[in-house]
């Protein structure tokens, strides 16, 4: 590389949040035209480090240099002025403003007025240079998730960013959208822009980056040139410090249909859904988030009313629209929004453990709660599911995401369900917790439970499912055995494309 002055150099960065040290003496550099992958488990400190570079947090110690000059970044405005742009995992856009209004917000304008003409010209320029285009007058709320992310990237480039930080950019993208993002990154790279690529998708990191920096527990543990010798297994060991456990699926004979959806329609205007999930079978529901997955899960769980159709469990029709009756029929539901829909954060672990059945024996007698029975049950579950910290009296909101998920899994599996609906089971969890959840699902499958697995994570779908179905615009557009499915084919169907199923 001709110019060796780093675009961005972070030296000796330390950041504490109360007792927790999020970054410990971290050094990080980024050169012009370089794509650096930043890897690490959840809580390793990747996002914290980049939030410091972007002026969202102030470091407790350490220095920042931009293009060779010492920089004091006290706010995002400072960072933007220095040519740093950041695209967050969850896009930060204004849904009720137009694309152009989103792009112009924060710009100085001309003669005290917003400069629409200049903004339109710049948008066209970026579309031509990097293949990133959008309709300027479209309402952002109407954009697809991938388009919202494109808006975030365009917004950074709009401000002439030379350093672009992408935080888990592909977690919500289809394989095709990911490919589009990669070609934009290559164009940026050719233009001399430095890109920081935060991700835990190892294949993508190996495909797009020039160098990989691995963090663990707030410190950098490896900084290696991506010369083709890096392996997923090697990177994974660096990330978690030990060989991660990977749960594999062994094909087995499935039983009779336990969950049957017949002509189920989520909305008045959506297509009917016919789907059977057999005993001992995991059916994975793939789809771009926002295509009705939440409504689908909640409808089957009885939280919402279906517009039309019936739900059968073990061949018996159930009365729709009552979570309690669905539970009595043998259905367990683990929602994607753990703290919002699955738990009561302010209540102790022991109360949350019986949240779905505290009204009856053995936890209540004649309308009185049996605190002793609740505590004993919670202690047992905490021990057998290794929930940490092992304190049944602690408000569950204080537990980590992984332990909260363990608690929900413990609660719902104690019901010995015939059918399990589980949505985004490992979102936000680290490798160890993911292995735990996957192992439990496999155990349940072996016991003959019918499992409907809804996930944005295609890797997870392919890893666990016996059959894969694709949800698009609140309907199932195709379903096939996992052996017949390809990532490209499923990705196409997720975008509404037709899919050819081998006979």
């Amino acid at each position: 590389m001709a110019d060796d002055t780093p675009l961005l150099a972070l030296t000796g960065i330390t950041k504490r949040f109360g007792e927790v040290v999020a970054n410990r003496d971290v050094d990080f550099t980024l050169r012009p035209g370089e794509v650096v992958g930043l890897l690490g488990e959840n809580g390793a400190g990747k996002t914290t480090l980049m939030n410091i570079a972007f002026g969202l947090y102030r470091p407790d110690a350490g220095t920042i240099a931009v293009a060779g000059k010492a920089a004091s970044i006290g706010s995002t405005a400072d960072a933007i002025a220095l040519g740093i742009g950041m695209v967050h995992q969850h896009t930060h856009v204004v849904a009720r403003h137009s694309v152009l209004e989103n792009l112009m917000a924060g710009l100085a304008g001309r003669h005290g007025l917003i400069d629409r003409a200049a903004a339109l010209a710049r948008l066209a320029e970026i579309a031509a240079a990097y293949g990133l285009g959008l309709d300027p007058d479209q309402l952002v709320g109407d954009l697809a998730v991938g388009e919202k992310q494109r808006l975030d990237i365009i917004r950074a480039l709009f401000r002439k960013a030379r350093i672009l930080i992408l935080d888990e950019p592909t977690s919500v993208l289809t394989p095709q959208e990911t490919e589009g993002l990669f070609s934009a990154i290559r164009a940026l790279k050719a233009d001399g822009v430095g890109v920081v690529y935060i991700s835990h998708k190892l294949n993508e990191v190996r495909a797009i980056t020039d160098r990989v920096v691995v963090m663990r527990r707030g410190a950098v543990v490896a900084d290696a040139v991506n010369d083709g010798t890096l392996t997923n297994a090697g990177l994974a060991v660096l990330m978690c410090g030990h060989e991660p456990e990977r749960i594999t699926r062994t094909p087995h004979q499935t039983g009779a249909a336990r969950l049957e959806l017949a002509g189920l329609r989520l909305g008045k205007a959506t297509q009917p859904i016919d789907l059977k999930v057999h005993g001992g079978e995991i059916v994975g529901i793939a789809g771009v988030s926002g295509n009705g997955q939440v409504r689908f899960a909640e409808t089957i769980a009885g939280v919402q009313m279906a517009a039309d159709g019936t739900i059968l469990i073990d061949g018996k029709p159930t009365s729709a629209g009552s979570p309690r009756r669905m539970q009595q029929a043998g259905l367990a539901y683990i929602p994607e929004d753990r703290l919002g829909a699955g738990l009561v954060g302010a209540l102790p672990v022991s109360d949350n453990m019986v949240l779905s059945r505290f009204g009856a024996s053995p936890f209540a007698h004649f309308g009185w709660l049996d605190r002793k029975a609740m505590a004993a049950f919670a202690e047992r579950q905490i021990a057998s599911y290794d929930i940490r910290p092992p304190d049944a009296k602690l408000p569950i909101g204080l537990l980590s995401g992984g332990n909260q998920q363990k608690a929900i899994v413990a609660r719902e599996l104690a019901l010995k369900p015939k059918v399990l609906i589980i949505a985004q089971p490992t979102r936000g969890l680290d490798v160890t917790a993911i292995a735990f959840v996957h192992r439990e699902l496999m155990r349940l499958r072996a016991e003959g439970c019918a499992i409907l697995l809804i996930s944005d994570d295609l890797d997870e779908i392919f890893q666990l499912s016996d059959r894969i179905a694709v949800m698009y615009e609140s309907a199932i557009v195709c379903a096939m055995q996992v052996e017949q499915a390809t990532v490209a084919g499923i990705g196409l169907a997720m975008n509404g494309g037709a899919i050819e199923v081998p006979a």
Binding site: S75, M86, E101, A105, G106, G109, G112, R159
Partner: protein, 313 residues
């Protein structure tokens, strides 16, 4: 006098505007606060404080315009206090706003007693008189209604398009709207949501103070404790009715002013024999009906009542 006669009278329309102007000022005040993402329930107290500041200053100095200035400044100061509590300390906006109103009300009563004592004849000032604008006030019908008003009213006429222009045509206006919709997105593009909200609340306070001062500097000429009597709360409903847009808010305030003027005249005309309380309720009932009909189309700023914490992910 029949109902039709009431409505066809020029005096009715002029009265509707006089009644609408303080409400419009309050509504624009609330609009600015809510567009930044803060529900300002301190508005009732700010209006009362502005009324006293305006009256007392005019009474002491003899200058009505110094009274206007005092009302603007005291309102902005209370806005700053409100900002300290809900923007910097991120306290609950509902409780804090009500608290600010109660504290301001108590302090106003206390200060008035301290300054003016308890006299049988309440102190009075000579309020603003109406100024007919040359040429414009000669236009038949429209002239006497719109262009024979107080100077403050003419300022309010200009304020509505100015605020609309600010919100939708200037970078600062776009920044304000972005903060009210999504402060994190605003911070991501270099806008300081905290600074924006502090400034918005100070501007809202100044406008609310002016709204209160209008009532005694232009309309009544004296100060009474019940001078605001819930007008601030009405403004909260009028913002919803006006869908957080300046011109629509002006329409909402005018509608309320017109119904209010109508019921006043209906009462005095004696043509309908009903208890006067029913007449008094008429503007509120009308507002309620229109809000109910209108609400399905209205959408509050997405981040309304949501405190912004930069260190929170």
């Amino acid at each position: 006098m029949s109902m039709l006669d009431i409505i066809l009278d020029i005096g009715f329309f002029a009265a509707a505007i006089r009644l609408a102007v303080p409400l419009l000022l309050g509504t624009l005040s609330e609009l600015v606060a809510e567009r930044s993402g803060v529900l300002n329930l301190g508005i009732e107290g700010m209006m009362l404080a502005g009324a006293l500041a305006g009256f007392a200053t005019a009474h002491v100095t003899g200058s009505l315009w110094l009274g206007v200035l005092a009302a603007l400044l005291l309102g902005a100061l209370i806005g700053l206090l409100m900002a300290l509590l809900v923007v910097i300390l991120r306290l609950d906006q509902t409780v804090t706003g009500l608290g600010v109103t109660m504290a301001a009300t108590g302090l106003v009563f206390f200060s008035y007693r301290l300054g003016f004592g308890e006299s049988a004849v309440p102190p009075a000032i000579t309020p603003f008189s109406t100024i007919p604008l040359p040429l414009l006030s000669d236009i038949p019908f429209v002239g006497p209604v719109l262009f024979n008003q107080y100077a403050l009213t003419y300022i309010v006429y200009l304020l509505v398009p100015a605020l609309a222009f600010f919100l939708f045509r200037t970078p600062a206006g776009l920044a304000l709207r972005t903060v009210g919709e999504n402060p994190k997105a605003a911070a991501g593009v270099g806008i300081d949501p905290i600074k924006m909200r502090i400034l918005a609340l100070m501007a809202a306070g100044a406008l609310a103070g002016l709204a209160g001062a209008y009532l005694n500097l232009a309309a009544f000429g004296s100060f009474t404790f019940g001078i605001i009597s819930g007008r601030g709360w009405i403004c909260l409903a009028l913002v919803v009715l006006g869908r957080w847009k300046p011109f629509a808010c002006a329409g909402a305030a005018l509608l309320f002013g017109a119904v209010d003027a109508f019921q006043l005249r209906l009462q005095t005309s004696g043509s309908v024999d009903l208890p006067y309380q029913l007449f008094l309720a008429l503007p509120y009932v009308a507002t309620l009906i229109v809000v109910i009909v209108n609400t399905r189309f209205a959408a509050a700023p997405a981040a309304l009542m949501e405190p912004y914490d930069p260190e929170k992910r």
